[in-house]
Protein backbone atom coordinates (compact mmCIF):
# COMPACT_ATOMS: atom_id res chain seq x y z
CA UNK A 1 0.00 0.00 0.00
CA UNK A 2 1.06 3.57 -0.45
CA UNK A 3 1.57 5.93 2.47
CA UNK A 4 3.15 9.36 2.89
CA UNK A 5 6.16 9.56 5.17
CA UNK A 6 7.54 13.01 5.94
CA UNK A 7 5.92 14.34 2.77
CA UNK A 8 7.30 11.56 0.52
CA UNK A 9 5.31 8.69 -0.95
CA UNK A 10 6.40 5.19 0.10
CA UNK A 11 5.19 1.73 -0.86
CA UNK A 12 5.05 -0.51 2.21
CA UNK A 13 3.74 -3.98 3.00
CA UNK A 14 3.60 -3.76 6.78
CA UNK A 15 0.26 -3.09 8.43
CA UNK A 16 1.28 -1.83 11.86
CA UNK A 17 3.24 1.30 12.69
CA UNK A 18 6.02 -0.62 14.39
CA UNK A 19 6.41 -2.90 11.37
CA UNK A 20 6.29 0.07 8.98
CA UNK A 21 9.17 1.70 10.86
CA UNK A 22 11.18 -1.51 10.58
CA UNK A 23 10.36 -1.84 6.89
CA UNK A 24 11.40 1.76 6.22
CA UNK A 25 14.73 1.14 7.93
CA UNK A 26 14.31 3.11 11.15
CA UNK A 27 14.97 -0.01 13.20
CA UNK A 28 15.76 0.96 16.76
CA UNK A 29 16.37 4.63 15.94
CA UNK A 30 15.17 7.05 18.60
CA UNK A 31 12.25 8.68 16.81
CA UNK A 32 8.81 10.04 17.56
CA UNK A 33 5.79 9.32 15.40
CA UNK A 34 2.51 10.94 14.46
CA UNK A 35 -0.04 9.19 12.27
CA UNK A 36 -2.58 11.27 10.36
CA UNK A 37 -1.73 14.20 12.60
CA UNK A 38 -2.08 12.33 15.88
CA UNK A 39 0.82 11.48 18.16
CA UNK A 40 1.42 7.75 18.56
CA UNK A 41 3.63 6.81 21.54
CA UNK A 42 6.43 4.32 20.98
CA UNK A 43 4.66 1.89 23.31
CA UNK A 44 1.60 1.77 21.02
CA UNK A 45 3.33 1.39 17.66
CA UNK A 46 3.15 -2.38 17.49
CA UNK A 47 -0.63 -2.31 17.97
CA UNK A 48 -1.33 0.72 15.79
CA UNK A 49 -2.63 -0.23 12.36
CA UNK A 50 -1.65 1.77 9.29
CA UNK A 51 -4.13 2.15 6.44
CA UNK A 52 -3.66 2.90 2.75
CA UNK A 53 -3.06 6.61 2.24
CA UNK A 54 -1.91 7.19 5.80
CA UNK A 55 0.23 10.25 6.53
CA UNK A 56 3.13 9.49 8.82
CA UNK A 57 5.50 11.93 10.50
CA UNK A 58 8.77 10.57 11.85
CA UNK A 59 10.87 12.99 13.89
CA UNK A 60 14.31 12.58 15.40
CA UNK A 61 16.29 14.52 18.01
CA UNK A 62 17.80 17.67 16.61
CA UNK A 63 19.59 20.80 17.75
CA UNK A 64 17.28 23.47 19.13
CA UNK A 65 17.31 26.86 20.75
Amino acid sequence: MQITVNDELHEVHARTLGAVLDELGYGKARVATALNGFFIPATQRSAQTVEEGAVLEILAPMQGG
Binding site: N6, L24, G25, Y26, A29, R30, V31, A32, T33, A34, G37, F38, F39, P41, A42, E57, I58, L59, A60, P61, M62, Q63, G64, G65
Partner: protein, 261 residues
Protein backbone atom coordinates in the same frame (compact mmCIF):
# COMPACT_ATOMS: atom_id res chain seq x y z
CA UNK B 1 15.92 28.66 42.58
CA UNK B 2 13.84 25.70 41.51
CA UNK B 3 12.09 25.14 38.21
CA UNK B 4 9.17 22.76 38.71
CA UNK B 5 10.86 21.42 41.84
CA UNK B 6 14.23 20.89 40.20
CA UNK B 7 17.29 22.78 41.36
CA UNK B 8 19.55 23.59 38.44
CA UNK B 9 23.33 23.68 38.77
CA UNK B 10 23.48 26.94 36.82
CA UNK B 11 21.15 29.80 35.82
CA UNK B 12 22.51 29.76 32.28
CA UNK B 13 20.42 27.77 29.82
CA UNK B 14 22.06 27.13 26.47
CA UNK B 15 20.56 26.33 23.11
CA UNK B 16 22.23 23.69 20.96
CA UNK B 17 21.49 25.00 17.46
CA UNK B 18 23.66 26.72 14.86
CA UNK B 19 27.09 25.60 16.08
CA UNK B 20 29.66 24.92 13.40
CA UNK B 21 30.28 21.38 14.67
CA UNK B 22 29.21 19.01 17.44
CA UNK B 23 32.64 19.44 19.06
CA UNK B 24 32.21 23.21 19.23
CA UNK B 25 28.76 22.71 20.76
CA UNK B 26 30.15 20.34 23.37
CA UNK B 27 32.98 22.74 24.24
CA UNK B 28 30.49 25.61 24.58
CA UNK B 29 28.19 23.64 26.89
CA UNK B 30 31.14 22.74 29.08
CA UNK B 31 32.54 26.29 29.12
CA UNK B 32 29.12 27.71 29.95
CA UNK B 33 28.60 25.13 32.70
CA UNK B 34 25.05 25.24 31.44
CA UNK B 35 22.27 24.24 33.80
CA UNK B 36 20.02 23.18 30.92
CA UNK B 37 20.40 22.61 27.21
CA UNK B 38 17.51 23.02 24.80
CA UNK B 39 16.81 20.49 22.04
CA UNK B 40 14.26 19.98 19.31
CA UNK B 41 12.76 17.48 16.85
CA UNK B 42 13.01 17.43 13.08
CA UNK B 43 12.33 15.04 10.25
CA UNK B 44 15.05 12.55 9.48
CA UNK B 45 15.22 10.01 6.67
CA UNK B 46 15.70 6.35 7.50
CA UNK B 47 19.38 5.52 7.70
CA UNK B 48 20.40 9.11 8.37
CA UNK B 49 22.37 9.25 11.58
CA UNK B 50 22.40 12.96 12.44
CA UNK B 51 19.59 12.74 14.97
CA UNK B 52 20.96 9.67 16.67
CA UNK B 53 24.47 11.14 16.78
CA UNK B 54 23.08 14.34 18.27
CA UNK B 55 21.19 12.36 20.88
CA UNK B 56 24.37 10.50 21.83
CA UNK B 57 26.23 13.79 22.15
CA UNK B 58 23.53 15.31 24.36
CA UNK B 59 23.53 12.26 26.60
CA UNK B 60 27.30 12.44 26.96
CA UNK B 61 27.08 16.06 28.17
CA UNK B 62 25.02 14.97 31.18
CA UNK B 63 23.06 18.23 31.36
CA UNK B 64 19.26 18.37 31.90
CA UNK B 65 17.43 18.89 28.64
CA UNK B 66 14.55 21.17 27.77
CA UNK B 67 12.88 20.18 24.48
CA UNK B 68 11.19 22.93 22.53
CA UNK B 69 8.36 23.29 20.04
CA UNK B 70 10.30 25.74 17.89
CA UNK B 71 8.75 26.47 14.53
CA UNK B 72 5.20 25.60 15.57
CA UNK B 73 2.57 28.10 14.44
CA UNK B 74 -0.58 26.59 15.86
CA UNK B 75 -1.91 25.08 19.09
CA UNK B 76 -2.47 21.59 17.68
CA UNK B 77 0.95 21.49 16.04
CA UNK B 78 2.66 22.65 19.23
CA UNK B 79 0.76 20.18 21.43
CA UNK B 80 1.52 17.24 19.13
CA UNK B 81 5.17 18.26 18.86
CA UNK B 82 5.38 18.47 22.66
CA UNK B 83 3.92 14.99 22.97
CA UNK B 84 6.42 13.65 20.45
CA UNK B 85 9.27 15.39 22.29
CA UNK B 86 8.25 13.79 25.57
CA UNK B 87 8.28 10.39 23.90
CA UNK B 88 11.77 10.86 22.45
CA UNK B 89 13.53 12.79 25.18
CA UNK B 90 11.88 11.22 28.20
CA UNK B 91 11.10 14.46 30.00
CA UNK B 92 7.83 16.23 30.71
CA UNK B 93 9.54 19.63 30.52
CA UNK B 94 8.66 21.55 27.38
CA UNK B 95 9.72 24.97 26.19
CA UNK B 96 6.50 25.95 24.51
CA UNK B 97 6.75 28.13 21.43
CA UNK B 98 3.67 29.03 19.42
CA UNK B 99 4.81 31.55 16.86
CA UNK B 100 2.27 34.03 15.57
CA UNK B 101 4.28 36.42 13.44
CA UNK B 102 6.97 35.44 10.99
CA UNK B 103 9.17 38.51 10.76
CA UNK B 104 9.72 38.93 14.48
CA UNK B 105 8.95 35.32 15.48
CA UNK B 106 6.60 36.91 17.98
CA UNK B 107 4.68 34.51 20.21
CA UNK B 108 1.01 33.92 19.45
CA UNK B 109 0.05 34.58 23.04
CA UNK B 110 -3.56 33.45 22.56
CA UNK B 111 -2.46 30.08 21.19
CA UNK B 112 0.24 29.93 23.83
CA UNK B 113 -2.26 30.16 26.67
CA UNK B 114 -4.47 27.49 25.11
CA UNK B 115 -1.55 25.13 24.44
CA UNK B 116 -0.26 25.69 27.98
CA UNK B 117 -3.63 24.64 29.38
CA UNK B 118 -3.82 21.51 27.23
CA UNK B 119 -0.26 20.44 27.97
CA UNK B 120 -0.51 21.13 31.70
CA UNK B 121 -3.63 18.97 31.88
CA UNK B 122 -1.64 16.29 30.06
CA UNK B 123 1.06 16.36 32.75
CA UNK B 124 3.61 18.59 31.07
CA UNK B 125 5.70 21.16 32.91
CA UNK B 126 5.45 24.08 30.56
CA UNK B 127 8.07 26.80 30.02
CA UNK B 128 6.09 29.21 27.82
CA UNK B 129 8.03 31.54 25.52
CA UNK B 130 6.04 34.73 25.85
CA UNK B 131 6.20 38.50 25.73
CA UNK B 132 6.55 40.75 28.76
CA UNK B 133 2.77 41.40 28.77
CA UNK B 134 1.38 41.23 32.31
CA UNK B 135 -2.09 40.08 31.31
CA UNK B 136 -0.73 37.26 29.18
CA UNK B 137 1.55 36.25 32.04
CA UNK B 138 -1.43 36.09 34.38
CA UNK B 139 -3.34 33.91 31.89
CA UNK B 140 -0.37 31.59 31.43
CA UNK B 141 -0.08 31.10 35.17
CA UNK B 142 -3.81 30.47 35.41
CA UNK B 143 -3.47 27.92 32.59
CA UNK B 144 -0.96 25.98 34.67
CA UNK B 145 2.48 27.36 33.87
CA UNK B 146 4.75 27.69 36.89
CA UNK B 147 7.61 29.28 34.96
CA UNK B 148 7.58 32.18 32.50
CA UNK B 149 10.03 32.84 29.69
CA UNK B 150 9.57 36.41 28.45
CA UNK B 151 11.58 37.50 25.45
CA UNK B 152 14.34 40.04 25.71
CA UNK B 153 14.07 40.79 22.00
CA UNK B 154 13.10 38.82 18.88
CA UNK B 155 14.78 35.42 18.53
CA UNK B 156 18.24 35.64 17.04
CA UNK B 157 18.24 39.45 16.94
CA UNK B 158 20.90 39.97 19.61
CA UNK B 159 19.27 43.27 20.55
CA UNK B 160 19.32 42.63 24.29
CA UNK B 161 16.50 43.72 26.59
CA UNK B 162 14.23 45.75 24.33
CA UNK B 163 11.70 46.75 26.95
CA UNK B 164 13.39 47.29 30.28
CA UNK B 165 10.30 48.91 31.76
CA UNK B 166 8.08 45.99 30.75
CA UNK B 167 10.51 43.37 31.99
CA UNK B 168 10.93 45.21 35.29
CA UNK B 169 7.17 45.47 35.68
CA UNK B 170 6.71 41.77 34.94
CA UNK B 171 9.37 40.82 37.46
CA UNK B 172 7.85 43.10 40.10
CA UNK B 173 4.31 41.89 39.47
CA UNK B 174 5.14 38.20 39.89
CA UNK B 175 8.02 38.21 42.38
CA UNK B 176 7.74 34.53 43.26
CA UNK B 177 7.43 33.02 39.79
CA UNK B 178 10.65 31.61 38.30
CA UNK B 179 11.36 33.64 35.19
CA UNK B 180 13.85 33.13 32.39
CA UNK B 181 14.71 35.81 29.85
CA UNK B 182 14.66 33.94 26.58
CA UNK B 183 15.64 35.19 23.15
CA UNK B 184 17.33 38.32 21.90
CA UNK B 185 20.31 38.29 24.23
CA UNK B 186 23.36 39.08 22.12
CA UNK B 187 26.11 40.05 24.53
CA UNK B 188 27.16 39.01 28.03
CA UNK B 189 26.17 42.45 29.34
CA UNK B 190 22.58 41.74 28.27
CA UNK B 191 22.57 38.64 30.45
CA UNK B 192 23.98 40.61 33.37
CA UNK B 193 21.21 43.18 32.90
CA UNK B 194 18.55 40.44 33.04
CA UNK B 195 19.85 39.22 36.38
CA UNK B 196 20.15 42.79 37.65
CA UNK B 197 16.41 43.12 36.98
CA UNK B 198 15.88 40.12 39.21
CA UNK B 199 15.34 37.45 36.59
CA UNK B 200 16.25 33.95 37.65
CA UNK B 201 17.90 32.61 34.50
CA UNK B 202 18.64 33.36 30.87
CA UNK B 203 18.43 31.20 27.77
CA UNK B 204 21.02 31.91 25.12
CA UNK B 205 21.73 30.27 21.81
CA UNK B 206 22.70 32.39 18.82
CA UNK B 207 24.99 34.72 20.79
CA UNK B 208 27.21 31.78 21.72
CA UNK B 209 26.77 29.65 18.61
CA UNK B 210 27.55 32.49 16.22
CA UNK B 211 30.41 34.04 18.19
CA UNK B 212 33.82 33.82 16.58
CA UNK B 213 34.88 31.65 19.51
CA UNK B 214 31.87 29.89 20.98
CA UNK B 215 33.61 28.40 23.99
CA UNK B 216 35.16 31.73 24.91
CA UNK B 217 31.79 33.45 24.57
CA UNK B 218 30.17 30.72 26.66
CA UNK B 219 32.70 31.44 29.39
CA UNK B 220 31.95 35.16 29.11
CA UNK B 221 28.23 34.49 29.49
CA UNK B 222 28.84 32.26 32.49
CA UNK B 223 30.80 35.03 34.20
CA UNK B 224 28.23 37.65 33.17
CA UNK B 225 25.42 35.61 34.68
CA UNK B 226 27.37 35.14 37.89
CA UNK B 227 28.08 38.89 38.03
CA UNK B 228 24.47 39.85 37.46
CA UNK B 229 23.16 37.35 39.97
CA UNK B 230 25.68 38.42 42.63
CA UNK B 231 25.04 42.09 41.92
CA UNK B 232 21.29 41.72 42.31
CA UNK B 233 21.73 39.76 45.53
CA UNK B 234 23.96 42.54 46.88
CA UNK B 235 21.06 45.05 46.63
CA UNK B 236 22.32 47.72 44.21
CA UNK B 237 22.03 51.41 45.03
CA UNK B 238 19.17 53.38 43.52
CA UNK B 239 19.76 55.60 40.52
CA UNK B 240 19.79 59.36 41.05
CA UNK B 241 19.15 62.15 38.63
CA UNK B 242 21.83 64.42 40.15
CA UNK B 243 25.47 63.90 41.01
CA UNK B 244 26.43 63.25 44.61
CA UNK B 245 30.13 63.53 45.49
CA UNK B 246 31.63 60.25 46.52
CA UNK B 247 34.65 61.96 48.11
CA UNK B 248 33.76 63.87 51.30
CA UNK B 249 33.62 67.65 50.77
CA UNK B 250 34.07 68.40 54.46
CA UNK B 251 37.61 69.64 55.03
CA UNK B 252 38.25 70.77 51.44
CA UNK B 253 41.12 73.30 51.23
CA UNK B 254 38.97 76.34 50.49
CA UNK B 255 41.92 78.75 50.39
CA UNK B 256 43.41 77.26 47.21
CA UNK B 257 41.30 79.33 44.88
CA UNK B 258 38.51 76.94 44.02
CA UNK B 259 34.99 78.30 43.73
CA UNK B 260 32.05 76.99 45.69
CA UNK B 261 29.38 75.69 43.26
Amino acid sequence: MQFYGTELSSRLMLGTAQYDSPAILADAVKAAQAGVVTVSLRREAAGAQAGQAFWSLIQSLNVPILPNTAGCHGVREAVTTAQMARDVFGTDWIKLEVIGQGDLLQPDVFGLVEATRILTEDGFKVFPYTTEDLVVAERLLRAGAEVLMPWGAPIGSGRGLNNLFGLRALRSHFPDIPMVVDAGIGKPSHATAAFELGYDAVLINTAVAKAGNSAQMATAFRLACEAGLAGFAADPMEERDMAVPSTPTLGLARSLGGEML
